[in-house]
């Protein structure tokens, strides 16, 4: 599937995750020191925000997203005219699906002199309208053809269903990787897996999730989706083995919810119920705090694994009304399905 040339040598995922935490701890120490003397620099805070977002993504830690968001709010409060501060907050807002506010921050960053190429990339990530995002992604890839620009364009083509073009671009992106951090490559492999999962090609999806996990063994989203593929292919035992540690280590209820579903399907009703209750409580909490980010996930949960929650369809409809995405067939009925 992957030739030697397409396999960039990267740092062990174990080392990289250890070092990511070491970077965060080290920068936190630096900020603590700076606080005693003078205000921490915007650059230090912006780097820490990016690191927290990465840590949150890789390990499935929503608490990291929340810390990054708090830090970004403080950063913009203290340096409202700094482009780096605005960009950092835009990233945290986008992570929590507050796209309109994120775009407003990007406009502010532009007025503060942010790099137009960086702004294009950030705007493309925020635009719900795929057509507009595609223009920006193609312009970026035409201007500078590197791993980041080609990879972003490839992911977008995949989301549009153009898997042939996406595959070509994804392969090209891998050959253009010039670093040793495993996270960008693992992330691209994960997105490739998602593309094939969406296209219904479970073996291809599984292979790319495996590639991501091989590179970063603790990569939570890849592990979670690999477990879904396992379950869909009939290997529930393996899916459960993957999901149990994730449901414990991650504060994202998606893993507990998936574990509950697979356990239920496998006939482990008692343990399934425990994880279902755990996911329900966490979804309640997260929808209250971050409705834009979790309403759709919570709705899907309450329509399926959650079953007994009447607000599921309403919540889901409200969410999809604000997005251009098609309303799932699941919502054509008011009756939750499991």
């Amino acid at each position: 599937m992957i030739s030697e040339d397409q396999c960039p040598r990267t740092t062990s995922g174990v080392v990289a995750v250890t070092n990511l935490q070491a970077q965060i701890d080290g920068l936190a120490a630096r900020l603590a020191g700076a606080r005693l003397g003078r205000a921490p620099t915007v650059a230090d805070c912006a780097v820490l925000i990016d690191l927290l977002l990465l840590h949150g993504h890789v390990l499935g830690r929503i608490a990291d997203y929340e810390r990054a968001a708090e830090l970004a709010e403080a950063l913009v409060r203290d340096a409202p005219d700094d482009a780096s501060a605005r960009l950092a907050r835009a990233r945290t807002l986008a992570t929590l699906h507050r796209f309109t506010e994120a775009l407003a921050d990007l406009d502010a960053a532009q007025r503060c002199g942010a790099d137009p190429a960086v702004l294009d990339g950030e705007r493309a990530a925020n635009l719900a309208a795929v057509g507009e995002a595609l223009v920006l992604r193609r312009r970026a890839a035409g201007h500078r053809r590197d791993f980041t620009t080609i990879g972003a364009l490839a992911v977008l083509e995949g989301e549009r269903g153009n898997t042939t073009e996406a595959e070509r671009l994804l392969t090209e992106a891998r050959t253009r990787y010039r670093g040793v951090s495993p996270f960008p490559v693992a992330s691209l492999d994960y997105r490739r897996g998602l593309m094939w999962l969406g296209a219904g090609d479970l073996p291809a999806a599984g292979a790319w999730f495996d590639a991501a996990i091989t590179r970063v063994p603790a990569y939570a989203p890849a592990l979670g989706h690999r477990a879904e593929v396992d379950a869909a292919l009939g290997d529930r035992g393996r899916a459960i083995d993957r999901l149990r540690p994730l449901a414990v280590s991650s504060d994202d209820p998606e893993y507990a919810a998936t574990l509950a579903r697979v356990l239920g399907d496998a006939g482990h009703a008692r343990e399934a119920e425990r994880w279902r209750l755990s996911a329900a409580a966490r979804y309640d909490e997260l929808v209250r705090r971050h409705p834009e980010a979790f309403a759709d996930h919570a709705a899907a949960f309450w329509l399926t694994v959650g079953r007994d929650r009447p607000e599921g369809p309403d919540l889901a409809r409200r969410h999809y009304a604000s997005r251009p995405s098609p309303v799932p067939a699941l919502l054509d009925t008011d009756t939750p399905t499991g």
Partner: protein, 388 residues
């Protein structure tokens, strides 16, 4: 800072980000040379070396020539390299140390354990690898203010931006005669590098003199040739001993554009560019390596002494190179701003968090107590207190 966070790629992968390179005669063992390569700015003590990299010291004998009108250092073709590689720890952690291997110029392999205080010593070489207190020091805010204000902004009571921070250190001490040969030197050019391991050895970072990238190359606004170009990743990828002819013009243009900025900071011109706009220091700084005299004894404060002597047309008197306690910010600013005879310019920070030791590995143990992240973020996120 010296080379901390020196480019977008380095930020993405801290274990490849060289913060500093030092070279100095051993204060403990005459006839021995010490090489230090620090990576990973603001590292927590748990930080590890990348298993996808080779950490490399390259040494070449060097001579001085004035053939082009201005004195420059010219490295020989002969090279001595020390390559250090590391394995990944086992996926389950297991509490085991990270293991590495240092390969000497003769191909001898010396095992090293990360964090092991007792150094490995074989074949005339001692090796240490592990977290250490960052020996660098600078009033970074005041230094950056100079770039914003266009005038010196240092204060007598400067604040060390690196106070209490850790790095990952590689320290190699070698018996010069036994390892390099009795006839090698005494002037040596030294650079440190991080290079991708395996069949495609892409150079990610390289460092000779401190602050070439962050002080001098980073600013774009004076550069009429490449005003929009982030040069530092490109510069990092270069062979310090053989700059690419395709890009050397870009580096030269950036140096010629930015060096006069420093000269103007005291309101006086000490370095007059030639009629082509070439700054007198450009050629010497483009030869971006540390120069050390292995025949001289250890001394603090040797940084740029050999270069200054060459520029002044006099014999050098010290070992040169760079020792951990050398105040490179003061030395650099004094030279760039005031010329060869200007008064000393100080950033108000005259030493590291803790002075270097006089015994191997010369760098202090790391700061073991990173603060609690939640507490730090709460403090940073809290609204500023109203003045009373």
């Amino acid at each position: 800072m010296a080379d901390h966070f020196s480019g977008p790629r380095a930020i993405a992968d801290p274990a490849s980000d060289i913060t500093d390179v030092y070279v100095f005669p051993s204060p403990e063992r005459p006839g021995h040379l010490v090489l230090v390569l620090n990576v990973f700015p603001s590292a927590a003590p748990a930080a590890l070396f990348s298993d996808a990299l080779r950490y490399r010291f390259r040494l070449r004998p060097v001579t001085v020539t004035t053939a082009g009108g201005t004195p420059v250092f010219v490295p020989d073709a002969d090279e001595y390299a020390f390559d250090v590689g590391f394995a990944a720890p086992s996926p389950d952690g297991g509490g085991g140390m990270q293991a590495g291997t240092c390969v000497t110029p003769s191909g001898a392999e010396i095992p090293v354990q990360v964090g092991e205080e007792k150094p490995t010593e074989m074949f005339g070489v001692r090796v240490f690898a592990g977290p250490r207190l960052d020996p660098f020091f600078i009033d970074l805010v005041a230094e950056q203010a100079a770039h914003t204000l266009g005038r010196l902004a240092f204060r007598a009571d400067g604040v060390n931006a690196v106070n209490g921070a850790n790095v990952l250190s590689l320290v190699v001490e070698l018996d010069v005669a036994a390892v390099l040969g009795r006839d090698t030197g005494p002037l040596l050019a030294v650079v440190g590098e991080t290079v991708v391991a395996g069949p495609h050895p892409v150079r990610l970072e390289r460092m000779g003199r401190p602050e070439i990238k962050n002080f001098i190359l980073q600013d774009k606004q004076f550069d009429n040739v490449n005003r929009d170009l982030e040069l530092r990743d490109l510069y990092n990828a270069e062979d310090a001993f053989n700059l690419s002819p395709a890009y050397v013009g870009a580096y030269r243009a950036r140096l010629n554009a930015n060096l006069p900025f420093f000269d103007r900071l005291d309101g006086r011109i000490d370095w007059r560019p030639d009629d082509q706009g070439v700054h007198p220091l450009t050629g010497m700084l483009l030869a971006d390596f540390l120069v050390v005299d292995t025949s001289k004894p250890f001394t603090d404060g040797g940084f740029l002494e050999i270069e200054r002597a060459v520029l002044a047309g006099r014999p050098h008197t010290t070992c040169g190179g760079r020792a951990p306690d050398d105040d490179i910010v003061d030395i650099f600013y004094t030279l760039l701003v005031g010329g060869l005879d200007g008064p000393r310019i100080s950033d108000g920070v005259d030493g590291p968090t803790r002075p270097a030791t006089r015994s191997f590995p010369y760098l202090n143990s790391p700061n073991p107590d990173p603060p609690d992240l939640r507490a730090v973020l709460a403090a940073v996120s809290a609204p500023p207190k109203a003045a009373t």
